[in-house]
């Protein structure tokens, strides 16, 4: 059987990939996909722990997270489309009217 630590390492790897994507990529949709990777990293941890120790809470949580993620994507894509109609770009560097 695969030890629990391996799952944790995989999920950490997924999470770091997600974060890197968020920081380095400039296309809003790709950034969004990277965020989904982060969520899935968390899901993996939950499921792994849950099945290892027979605790149902983790699996329950994963269903909630999946639903939330789906809603987030729906809203996110809608907002990206709205922005594209206004500015004709989804490059994050060009979204810069508001500055601190």
């Amino acid at each position: 059987m695969i030890p629990l630590e391996y799952y944790l390492i995989l999920s950490a790897f997924l999470f770091v990939t997600g974060v890197t994507g968020v920081i380095t990529r400039r296309n809003a949709i790709v950034v969004f996909m990277s965020i989904e990777l982060m969520l899935n990293a968390a899901n993996l941890t939950f499921v792994a722990y849950s099945s290892f120790f027979g605790d149902v809470v983790g699996q329950l949580f994963v269903f909630f997270v999946m639903a939330v993620a789906a809603a987030e994507v729906a809203i996110g894509l809608a907002i990206i489309i709205a922005l594209f109609r206004n500015k004709e770009t989804i490059n994050i560097d060009e979204i810069n009217i508001l500055k601190w």
Partner: protein, 499 residues
């Protein structure tokens, strides 16, 4: 938990049921004829009012039976939750008035119903946040609040700034919640539970902090910190506040922060306070959670206030100033005492009043002079005397000077800090109050000391405007002279909170 307990807990959720019920009613009203749809704001208001009354009634019952805690592992309804739900519902009630006044939002006639549906989902999310007692519940409630607010920030579809604000909010928000979720999963991994109390019970069995846990805690605090715009998780705040319609900005800076503070306080207090974990040194790092909070608080108030000085857009200025206020609340939390919690509750009550007031003035001015730039406020003190006097009250209160209630709010934070012997933090709080005076008074200075270039008369205020301004402003003055009721309220609700 046995069945009767469960049922009595379900009964305490009546305000939430009412909100859901009215949410559905609004959805159906939006589907039907235009004439019915016009009544939506009134219906929204009465729904909130009913929920508010139900909430008060439930508080009374809870208080009479002297039951410390209603509910169970995932949601709790205690005095603290009821106090915060009271603030959330009351502030939402005023929010509806803002929406009615906000001509930017009203320009989208056909989408009015949609707007209130979003608003009601946010209210539901906030109420759930106030009683969340489990990281799963907190996460879900946070998303129920966040998802509609992304849309609301971008409600002005054709406005570039609004949709830009919306995307920024969405991206920062999604990243923050992703990070927080990962933190939760790590905590679950090392503690095998997601309940707020789990840390205390595990720690008391001799399990100390391990690296995975510390990472998890930082991630989770980051997620909450994002919602209440605590530095360094605050980057979204000014941009979103500037881009969003004024009414939504108000909502994000006041109501949604109340809910965020509620869950953050409960998380910190339930997980750490009551044990000496707050002051237990984290292995190998040389500092404890308490000093971490102190650090966050200093950063938050200093960055917020210093940046506020340089803002010319008044919405941005208020955004940064609200970051500064959050710093004060985190400071009171770091005091880790009953006095600190009382200070938080009373600070938030006053914060709601004065910030609502200031934003309402900004909104009313915006649709009269068409600008949000402080430099365009020249001479308003004489053109709109009533509005300006009210603004002075709100600003003086925000700055924390007597004889307004804002002073007392700050005073109780100071008292809590001195009792906890956090002298350094108190010094920073002083320093920040002075900076605050500087930029709040700048607005007054422009309104009163500088002369307007044009003399054209401005549209006058309606009686309704004046009434609402007075409702927000007079309590600040009255409580400024006699603040005891606020503190007693905060103390009583904490008593039945079982903290």
């Amino acid at each position: 938990m046995d069945l009767t307990n469960q049922l009595s807990f379900l009964a305490t959720l009546i305000p939430e049921y009412l909100i859901i019920l009215f949410l559905l009613i609004i959805v159906f009203m939006d589907f039907s004829t235009e004439k019915i749809a016009e009544k939506i704001p009134a219906v929204a208001m009465s729904g909130l009012l009913l929920a508010l009354l139900a909430n008060l009634f439930m508080t009374g019952t809870l208080y009479e039976t002297e039951k410390l805690l209603a509910g169970g592992e995932i949601f709790v309804n205690d005095g603290f939750a009821f106090l915060f739900k009271f603030m959330i519902l009351a502030s939402s009630l005023i929010m509806v008035y803002f929406f009615v006044q906000d001509d930017e939002v009203n320009a989208y006639k056909t989408r009015k119903g949609e707007f209130y549906i979003l608003f009601y989902s946010m209210v539901l999310g906030m109420m759930l946040l106030a009683s969340a007692n489990d990281l799963i519940a907190a996460y879900i409630a946070l998303e129920v609040l966040s998802l509609p607010s992304y849309i609301a920030a971008g409600f002005l579809k054709v406005d570039k700034r609004s949709s830009e604000a919306s995307l920024k909010y969405l991206l920062f928000g999604a990243v923050a919640s992703g990070v927080m979720l990962f933190g939760i999963s790590l905590l679950y991994f090392s503690m095998s539970s997601t309940s707020f109390q789990i840390l205390v019970s595990n720690m008391s069995h001799g399990i100390g902090f391990d690296p995975v846990m510390i990472l998890a805690l930082i991630f989770i605090i980051g997620g909450f910190g994002y919602k209440i715009s605590m530095v360094p998780f605050h980057f979204w705040t000014p941009d979103v506040f500037e881009g969003a319609p004024v009414s939504i900005t108000t909502f994000l800076s006041v109501s949604s922060k109340i809910a965020g503070v509620a869950v953050f306080v409960r998380f910190i207090v339930y997980s750490f306070a009551g044990s000496n974990l707050m002051n237990q040194e984290i292995a190998g790092l040389g500092f404890n959670l308490n000093s971490f909070l102190v650090l966050l608080s200093i950063l938050t108030m200093t960055v917020g206030n210093l940046t506020a000085i340089f803002q010319n857009n008044i919405k941005r200025m208020l955004a940064y100033s609200s970051i500064g206020h959050i710093g004060f609340i985190v400071a009171a939390l770091a005091a880790n005492s009953e006095q600190g919690l009382i200070a938080i509750s009373s600070y938030l009550l006053i914060y709601t009043l004065m910030n609502f007031g200031a934003f309402l003035v900004v909104l009313l001015i915006k649709f009269r002079i068409g600008s949000e730039d402080i430099r365009d406020y020249k001479g308003l003190g004489y053109k709109m005397p009533f509005l300006s006097v009210m603004m002075v009250i709100f600003l003086v209160s925000l700055a924390g000077l007597p004889p307004t209630a804002g002073f007392w709010a700050k005073f109780y934070v100071f008292t809590a800090l001195m009792e906890a012997k956090l002298y350094l933090l108190a010094l920073f709080a002083i320093f920040n109050t002075v900076i605050g005076v500087f930029y709040y008074f700048r607005v007054m200075k422009v309104m009163y000391f500088e002369k307007s270039e044009t003399a054209e008369p401005l549209p006058i205020l309606t009686g309704g405007n004046k009434t609402v301004l007075l409702v927000l402003g007079l309590p600040l003055l009255i409580l400024g002279i006699y603040f005891t009721p606020v503190v007693e309220l905060a103390r009583e609700t904490l008593k039945i909170a079982g903290f």
